[in-house]
Amino acid sequence: MKDSYTLKSLATLLENNKISSKELTSEYLKNIERGKELNCYNTVSKEKALIDAEKSDERRKNQNLRSKFDGIPIGIKDLFCTKGVTTTASSKILSNFVPNYESTVTQKCDDAGLISLGKLNCDEFAMGSTNKTSFFGPVMNPWKSVNSNNKLVPGGSSGGSAAAVSGDLCVASLGTDTGGSIRQPASFTGTVGLKPSYGRVSRWGIVAFASSLDQAGPITKTVEDAAIFLDIISGHDEKDSTSSVNPKENYYENLNPDIKGMKIGIPKEFRSDKLPASTQKSWDECADLLKTNGAEILDISLPYTMSALPAYYIIAPAEASSNLARYDGVRYGLRVKGNNLIDMYEKTRSEGFGDEVKRRILIGTYVLSSGYYDAYYIKAQKIRSLIKSDYVEAFKKVDAILTPSTPSTAFEIANEPSDPVQNYLNDIFTVPVNLAGLPGISIPFTNDENNLPIGLQLITNSFEEQKLLNVARNIEKTINYSETPEKWWLK
């Protein structure tokens, strides 16, 4: 199977009848089977996918396609509720949960004729940046360091979504991003990860982590595919009160890599001595490249950047502690019997949630408690406002901001820091974007000395996804990143 498959190229193959949806789907199902070791999928919808592919081929024959991309198989993060297909959020507490409804985003995929191959592994309730908190075990990064045979984390929380695209277990996937959960794993796996503006994509039917930060988005091989996928999933949804009524654009059709005269900001607060030299070098090179291509590079300041992570780790757990209260064993999901109601709650939630989820529920409950609320939650909200205004000011001067996506490349599963705070630092470059509700994209730029992908992040103002994709496309076109991992799991 060719690594060069993209949504775009597959659409052409299907259009020219070079391959049928059923053949394509079977091929990906085979890849999934062979790539079991990567542990990307929590659920593989083999039969359903094949039936859906046949139906797509039928539509193609009858010339009543749902879209140009009808019949292309994709993967879905196991956080999107899918009718009749187990939806677990990679948690024991939902391990038996089969929704009888379909999330708005996956419904839109279905409306476009995309075929779901199954549900992708992720950190439990999307809490984590290594995919190690999943009840179904960690996902393996398809990439390995040239200097070691040790397995690497794919990042998280959309680790399965990123690894699956990187390892060709699907051509594109859906992820969600609360503090970097699309961009960080995309960066670790050499894929493109797009987090849209808050409100651009409906949250209806997605298991909630932190409602004011959560946003669904695509992980793809190319910027073009990201634009195609965003076209499919975005738009106003009256079932989500926080969904924006801003009209969406035709991102793929309007994709224009011309950046002449654009101003790109380099925020000084993102600079750090701790940044690996290769990452720093890529960042500088990318700025030079944009300059060469006609953009103006400006040094800018986002003064509250360093306060973003502490604010995030108050706001996100606070919302999570409340959002996860519904998993109580009463109506669905795991129930562990108890002597009375409280006992049942305690046993169910003790057994049903993993350590990281419990940690965040505890933090969240604490910061919302009376007596602490003002000192933590209110203060964090104030910081969030300051961060927002940082970006408002910045976007008066620049069109887009360029930063590294992550402070390091993928690290070994065994080397995950035991201190949770160290782990939280993975999100340091991505979190401010969620707090400010902005769109951000991580694109692979080059590989480091260990042959591991380095991702760079672009950020634009709210609802300027088109501009974001245009700049990203400019970089993509110029560098033509085409590294692919050695498929060690096939041996």
Binding site: F80, C81, R326, L341
Partner: protein, 480 residues
């Protein structure tokens, strides 16, 4: 005894009314709200808090809350925020109730009530919107509690008063008044038996001149009788404690409708920490002036205004007007009857005989067996002297049974009154001539005998004689 015991103390009473918003669908979901449906038959994915479900504000409920606010003479807040009130319970699917904590939709207002000492203004602190919880059924199974989520997510208005009431009677009057206003507005059906309107009552006692006492809250009172009884019991309980040298604990109490007592439910120390914070699934609610104006213009005439009008237009006493306007249907009924008729007579017949029939039959005025048209016809026949008051009562009773019109009954029963002066004069002559002794006594100053002559004359006419003419004629003849 009770009154005396309480008398030397001040009572301070504040009330939270939970009024179910009159709406076909729930506050944040499209599920229906019909009362008495099969358990769990009115539950959407949102009401059951399935993963990934999101609330969407029901605009109609917002309108109802704003209308209610206007009816309570209150400030409408153009920006309000929905918060999550977090606690665990089996009938609370989300693990939190969506409510309004810091920024309610309606701010300060007031209602006026009638008291022994005249009108009194009771302050309203706020009105906010919140979701109702489901219902736990503990009596269906020996080992399990069953949960019915039909009520889960239904919109409630919580109306919080200031602690401005100082007797159980005032408390009842306040709840009555608020209920009446909401019913006039159509924002709550006020059905207390079905739980559409219930009250939590805060009571404290103190000696005049002393600082306020510690308050207790009595939860979930769903009748005027219970509100009254609970306050009396609670005040007595607190007074007794203080007089015994003990202190009142701040706590939440439940009223036992069987025994008429209150008992402790939880103390302040056990109170939940609800961890309120703004619901991130809902944007702040903003109302614009034009929209509020449209609602303001749609507000119907409310009891206080109607009362003033009745007093002016029909010269009703404040007392009578109050009784008539307390209920929208009654005031409409009254107005139907009173048009072009004698207001005093109509008032007497509505608040007297009609009410007593409804009471006896345990009916509300909407279901009155006597229509306003029928009662009007009856009043006409009293007014034109065709029948006496006493006869009219007979007609009314018959009307109630048969549903026939007044004239028809009068004809059938041959009830028409004798108003022919000559005919009555001959009756009066018979009475006076056959009682010469009494006539003499009367003329010697025994005034009381006047009634005797009237009674005899009426008896002779089988009650049909027009009493006014009988009176006049006897007076005339005896003074000759």
């Amino acid at each position: 005894m009770v009154a005396q015991m309480i008398e030397s103390w001040n009572l301070v009473i504040g009330i939270e009314i939970h009024a179910q918003v009159n709406s076909k669908s729930k506050l944040f979901s499209p599920s229906p709200t019909d009362f008495g449906s099969k358990p769990n038959s009115q539950v959407s994915l949102i009401d059951a808090a399935m993963p990934g479900m999101l609330p969407v504000i029901n605009k109609f409920c917002i309108e109802q809350a704003v209308k209610s606010g206007i009816g309570l003479n209150a400030k409408i807040n153009k920006k309000s925020i929905f918060d999550r009130k977090n606690y665990f319970y089996q009938d609370l699917p989300q693990g939190y109730q969506i409510s309004q904590f810091k920024d309610p939709i309606v701010g300060e207002g007031f209602v006026e009530i009638e008291t022994e000492n005249g009108q009194k203004k009771i302050g309203v602190e706020r009105l906010h919107l919140e979701q109702d919880a489901g219902k736990s059924l503990h009596d269906q199974d020996p080992n399990f509690t069953f949960v019915d989520l039909n009520r889960s997510g239904i919109a409630l208005m919580e109306i919080v008063s200031k602690p401005d009431m100082s007797s159980p009677e005032e408390a009842v009057e306040y709840v009555r008044k608020v209920r009446s206003i909401l019913r006039y507005l159509g924002t709550c059906d006020g059905n207390m038996e079905q739980g559409s309107l219930r009250a939590d009552v805060n009571v404290s006692v103190n000696k005049p001149g002393n600082e306020l006492g510690t308050r207790c809250e009595i939860k979930n009172l769903n009748s005027f009788k219970f509100i009254h009884a609970a306050i009396v019991y609670e005040a007595k309980r607190q007074i007794k404690l203080i007089e015994q040298g003990e202190s009142v604990n701040q706590e939440t109490r439940l009223f036992n409708t069987q025994s008429g007592e209150t008992r402790s439910m939880r103390s302040k120390e056990d109170a939940h920490d609800y961890r309120y914070f703004p619901d991130p699934d809902l944007l702040p609610l903003t109302l614009d002036d034009d929209w509020i104006k449209v609602l303001q213009d749609s507000i119907p005439e409310l009891p206080d205004q109607i009362k003033k009008r009745f007093i002016n237009e029909y010269s009703l006493s404040s007392y009578d007007a109050n009784i008539i306007v307390s209920d929208k249907a009654t005031s409409e009924y009254f107005e139907d009857v009173v048009k072009n008729r004698n207001p005093k007579l109509v008032t007497t017949w509505v608040t007297g005989e009609l009410f007593s029939i409804l009471n006896k039959k345990n009916l509300i005025i909407e279901d009155s067996p006597i229509t306003s048209k029928q009662l009007g016809e009856l009043v006409d026949n009293i007014e034109n002297g065709k029948i006496s008051n006493r006869q009219a009562k007979e007609v009314l009773e018959e009307m109630c049974e048969s549903g026939k019109g007044a004239l028809e009954i009068i004809d059938e029963k041959g009830l028409s009154q004798i108003s022919d002066e000559n005919e009555i004069e001959s009756l009066v002559d018979i009475v006076l001539n056959s009682n010469p002794e009494n006539v003499k006594k009367y003329k010697n100053g025994k005034d009381k005998l006047f009634g005797f002559f009237v009674g005899e004359a009426m008896k002779l006419s089988k009650g049909k004689a027009n009493p006014k003419i009988v009176n006049d004629l006897i007076k005339k003849k005896l003074s000759q």
